[in-house]
Symmetry: C2
Subunit: 202 residues, 2 copies
């Protein structure tokens, strides 16, 4: 997710309005493509991977939700079935709250609605950036888009460590691992990235 608006709903409010915490083991499914949405989720601890998969079982990562971030918001509000799955990447604690209770919060706390609106705007922006990644038909172009999107400090001249494995980059860009590896090597030769001891710097 974009780091600009990392807004979230006050935990106390969530609990007061019927929200409850739930723990998930690593790898446990929180919800699955096709399911009917019942809850709004906010991460307290751990990390959640939200992704969708195509017919061949290839998976595209949409984003990782970290503590403080929400996920599954668009589905709970639209009521449309999940088009993505959410899986705990690490042992994770989330607060779940039903749609009805969430709507009560929105009614009683205009500032929460406002915060959420900004958070949603960031998600839309993020989604559009993801689409940008997926159209670049050159692997290099896709990877570059991905790296740029995830570069926290855009002005940083020095190359910094990219905290993703080749496989994760592949899952974000819709490429195969082998293609990512081969392309990164080419990019290293061109001086675009550094690879030191298998670690990637950009």
């Amino acid at each position: 997710m974009s780091e600009v608006y990392n807004t979230f709903i006050d935990q106390n409010i969530l609990i007061t309005y019927g929200g409850f915490a739930k723990k998930y083991e690593k790898g446990e499914i929180i919800y699955q493509e096709g399911n009917t949405p019942n809850h709004f989720f906010q991460v307290i601890e751990g990390e959640v991977r939200v992704f969708c998969s195509n017919s061949e079982g290839k998976e595209l990562t949409h984003y990782y939700a970290s503590p403080g971030e929400t996920f599954g918001e668009s589905q709970i509000l639209t009521g449309l079935p999940y088009t993505c799955s959410a899986v705990a990447k690490t042992p994770t604690v989330v607060i779940k709250i039903s749609k009805e209770n969430l709507l009560n919060i929105l009614k009683d706390f205009p500032e929460v609605t406002r915060d959420l609106l900004f958070s949603f705007a960031a998600k839309i922006y993020d989604g559009a950036s993801s689409a940008r990644i997926l159209i670049g038909h050159t692997p290099e172009e896709r990877i570059l888009q991905f790296l740029d999107k995830n570069k926290t400090d855009k002005d940083q001249q020095a190359k910094i460590l990219v905290p993703f494995t080749r496989q994760q980059i592949a899952d974000f860009t819709g490429l195969r691992v082998e293609t990512v590896i081969r392309t990164l090597i080419k990019m290293k030769d061109d001086g675009v990235v550094n690879i030191i001891n298998r670690k990637l710097y950009y």
Copy 2:
């Protein structure tokens, strides 16, 4: 866009708070990739195409904004530069309002904020669906995703006219026109779609 939440802001409120109408000719650029966002837009008349392009100049359509729909919301709220361009597809009238004025509306009208929140949720959902289209590595899979997404009545058994040209489908799916055409012909032979007099039915 998804048709579920076609919410928009009351025109009178927009005008009262400093919004103003502006006319664009067909093909005129409303904003461009890289620009700094200054306004929030709502379509009154006509149709606006929002798209981004890659280095080769290939364009990916994100969505068409019809009367009543908003666009460029995520950028005005996040303040991040445009990653897409918006162009009037037909002669178009939009209402523009500055960020400052928009924020005043949000402050004074909680229900507008709420409506916008739902509208944003639909946009996020829509964006995720677009990503789904782009990962299908078979052209048929991509086109099918696209057709399903745009099928208004999901339960409709009879095939209905698809109101998009081959080129438009190509721009939505990230494929080339020729590929779309060849794939559609194959899909016709398989009975998935109908093509009568060059018109596509699904």
